[in-house]
């Protein structure tokens, strides 16, 4: 039983990180109908920037909590700037182009960001400093660390904040209007370009937070870390119903749980036919199943075809 609880905890922590990254995919998709494949790389930039800022400040003798906050702030600012620039340079000029064109630029941007980071931070792995004291709690025989508790809490708070923003504010209403129909929204006085830019900036700030979390949890930062993470988060977004905020959260958490429980139990359940090396595969099995039986995702509503 303690094993089962431990796997659930592992899955929740992993899942809340996936959820944060998935939000970035889903927000951009909701507004532009574009899959921003460079989003994983923005997460990576956030992690590496936070790493440099935090270790730099610690080296100057700044206390850890302050350094961690500064790290998050600098990372968020940089990611927001990158997100904004990417949209202006790579996506806006192609707004009217066939769907394939922005998809290809997205992949191009991701390669550029990855190589840029490799040149700035080098090929080596960076050991992320411990941000909170290494404290462990015992939950029914399972072990959970303070950092894991904070990760889940922070992710939940951030997501709640985002929901409030989208559902209760003027900006949120403008975002929803743009997602519904950009042309009509424009006619109603919504500055669509500004909303699109803001969506990218907001998603990139979430990416910075996710980058910090992923690096703090696995104590590793590397220029290549965004690729797989981005792919998983994209899967999570599709699983929940891409374009749907609640869907991205549900999909993220679910994906984390599936991975943990799958890797933990599949070997015993199939008598060793499948092993834990299929950890990354379960997610895609489930994704295929969902797409076959519920193409709009678990939470996604029917997406009306634009006339």
């Amino acid at each position: 039983m303690d094993i089962f609880i431990q796997q659930i905890i592992n899955g929740l922590v992993l899942g809340s990180i996936y959820a944060l990254v998935a939000l970035g995919y889903t927000m951009v998709y909701g507004i532009l109908g574009l899959i921003n494949f460079a989003h994983g790389e923005v997460v990576m930039l956030g992690a590496l920037t936070a790493y440099s800022t935090i270790t730099g400040l610690l080296g100057l003798g700044v206390p850890l909590p302050l350094a961690a906050l500064a790290g998050l702030a600098v990372a968020a600012l940089l990611c927001m700037a990158v997100g904004y620039t990417v949209e202006r340079v790579a996506y806006r000029p192609l707004r009217g182009a066939p769907r394939l064109a922005p998809l290809i630029t997205a992949i191009g941007v991701s390669i550029v960001l990855q190589n840029g980071a490799m040149m700035v931070w080098g090929r080596n792995y960076h050991a992320f400093p411990n941000l909170v004291p290494e404290r462990q709690y015992d939950v029914f025989g399972a072990t959970i660390t303070l950092l894991q508790v904070l990760t889940v809490l922070l992710a939940a708070l951030t997501m709640a904040g985002l929901m409030l923003l989208v559902l209760r504010t003027r900006l949120g209403r403008a975002m929803r209007a743009t997602a519904e129909n950009p042309a009509i929204a424009q006619l109603m006085g919504v500055d669509v370009n500004r909303i699109v830019s803001l969506t990218f900036v907001l998603g990139s700030a979430l990416a910075a937070l996710a980058g910090l979390m992923v690096s703090a949890n696995y104590s590793i930062a590397h220029y290549y870390m965004g690729f797989i993470l981005g792919l998983k988060a994209f899967t999570a977004a599709v699983l929940g119903g891409i374009g749907n905020l609640a869907g991205a959260m549900v999909g993220g958490i679910l994906l984390g749980l599936i991975e943990s429980l799958g890797a933990g139990y599949i070997g015993d359940l199939t008598g060793g036919f499948f092993g834990s090396n299929y950890q990354d595969v379960f997610a895609f099995f489930v994704l295929i199943a969902v797409l076959v039986f519920r193409p709009s995702g678990l939470v996604g509503e029917k997406v009306a075809e634009r006339a």
């Binding site: 094993i3 431990q6 190589n115 092993g275 834990s276 950890q279």
Partner: protein
């Protein structure tokens, strides 16, 4: 595309990254790998005025991008240093002054990419190959080099299959995994007194091959393998498989894979409250492992083929030379790749020709005192003497413990590579 991207700043300012502008500029420059530039070769110090010149082109392959790029770059640096030394020595092959050039390719540690760049090097008519880094890329590529009759010396591919295919072009200057697995299993059971052992590998040709050999050795020595779990060479989350291992209560966990996974794995197993000892092979026996595992690594052990660098006649000098040239510490295999390159040049010298068909028989007859060992090959192309050394991660450094097998002795002393003091890089 010949990778010529030397722009990696050795010590980026920690805050340099804070300026978005710097990053955007860097990103804009990222296309530099596309330029077809020859590798900068050191100009020969003394050139005889009249001798004719031939150009000897050595191909090198390793992952220069992707998760193992730090090890690939380290290998490339080893080969570059050898090329520079050869050019500085002003070697003559068959009466002609030889100018060595390195053609470096990136295989991303991906078997598919490995065969593509192997074919590319064959088409470029290189005289010899040093590499690849991973067993998973070396084995499929070795068929291509064999078909083209080009000698290949790997400095780091340890899977036994590489030399068991019967290719007379395949050599390695490193102990293979049969020898290493034997030592790891025996050491775990006999010296560390572990009865219940859990094995984790990364399902690459290297990790899987080594773990299989360790498992055989554990059983042969009377130990029990209580869990066999797998991950992959890009993973960062190991909590799920470690939780499963925790329930089996092993005395020892053996990991077969690279440092980028071994480090976080070590840290996460302590976070889950697992108290077992940890043992890993050469892939995890690096300063990078200690950096990533932090305090969790303290007191744990790993093995490396060969004897420590400072026990070798040319070892300390090599460490210095490397540091001076590249302003960075050796990661892992650079000295082996250096030797691999030297073995090729040595065979060319003795054959009086850089023509692969002419000097290939001489490679098999190699008896060369390299930086890492006295290199002589058996009938298959493996090193004749294969000692394995064990190290302990202690006090933020790799401390040499003892050497087993291969007729090599020695005790006490330090790591083959100096540990990075502050982990900042």
């Amino acid at each position: 595309m010949t990778k010529t991207c030397p722009a990696r700043p050795a010590y980026p300012h920690p805050l340099a990254s804070a300026a978005p502008l710097a990053l955007l500029i860097a990103a804009a420059l990222a296309g530099c790998g596309n330029k077809e530039e020859p590798k900068p070769a050191a100009t020969p110090a003394t050139a005889p005025a009249v001798a004719p010149t031939i150009t000897v082109r050595i191909g090198h392959v390793g992952p220069l991008t992707g998760p193992q790029a730090h090890l690939g770059k380290d290998n490339e640096d080893g080969a570059l240093l050898a090329i520079d030394d050869l050019n500085a020595q002003g070697i003559e092959i068959g009466g002609a002054k030889a100018k060595f050039e390195l053609l470096s390719e990136d295989d991303q540690a991906d078997p598919k990419q490995g065969t593509i760049v192997a074919q590319k090097l064959v088409d470029a008519k290189v005289n010899g190959i040093v590499g690849h880094l991973n067993s998973g890329t070396t084995i499929p590529a070795s068929k291509i080099y064999f078909d083209a009759g080009i000698p290949q010396v790997s400095g780091s591919a340890t899977n036994p299959k590489y030399t068991q295919q019967g290719f007379n072009t395949a050599f390695r200057v490193m102990t293979n995994d049969v020898q290493q697995g034997l030592v790891l299993g025996e050491y775990g059971v006999k010296k560390l007194g572990a009865k219940k052992i859990a094995l984790v590998d990364d399902r690459t040709a290297y990790g899987q091959g080594l773990a299989d050999e360790v498992e055989k050795s554990i059983k042969a020595n009377g130990g029990e393998v209580v869990a066999r779990e797998f991950t992959n060479d890009k993973a960062t989350d190991f909590k799920a498989i470690l939780t499963k291992i925790k329930s089996k209560k092993p005395d020892l966990i053996v990991y077969a894979g690279m440092d980028a996974q071994a480090g976080p794995l070590m840290k996460q197993l302590r976070e889950l409250g697992i108290k077992s000892n940890f043992l890993t092979g050469d892939g995890g026996c690096t300063p990078e492992f200690m950096k990533l595992a932090g305090e969790a690594a303290e007191g744990q052990m790993c093995s490396l083929p060969g004897v420590p660098l400072d026990k070798m006649p040319g070892g300390p000098a090599f460490v210095n030379k490397f540091k001076v040239k590249f302003n960075t510490d050796i990661q892992l295999y650079a000295p082996y790749v250096y030797d691999a390159t030297m073995v090729l040049a040595d065979a060319m010298k003795r054959a009086g020709s850089a023509d692969p068909a002419k000097y290939l028989p001489e490679v098999a007859k190699t008896d060369y005192q390299g930086v890492t060992a006295r290199i002589a090959f058996d009938a298959k192309g493996d090193l004749k003497s294969g000692p394995i050394s064990l190290y302990k991660y202690a006090g933020g450094k790799l401390q040499f413990v003892e050497t087993v097998g291969g007729g090599a002795g020695g005790s006490g002393g330090d790591a083959p590579v100096p540990a990075k003091g502050d982990g900042q890089k």
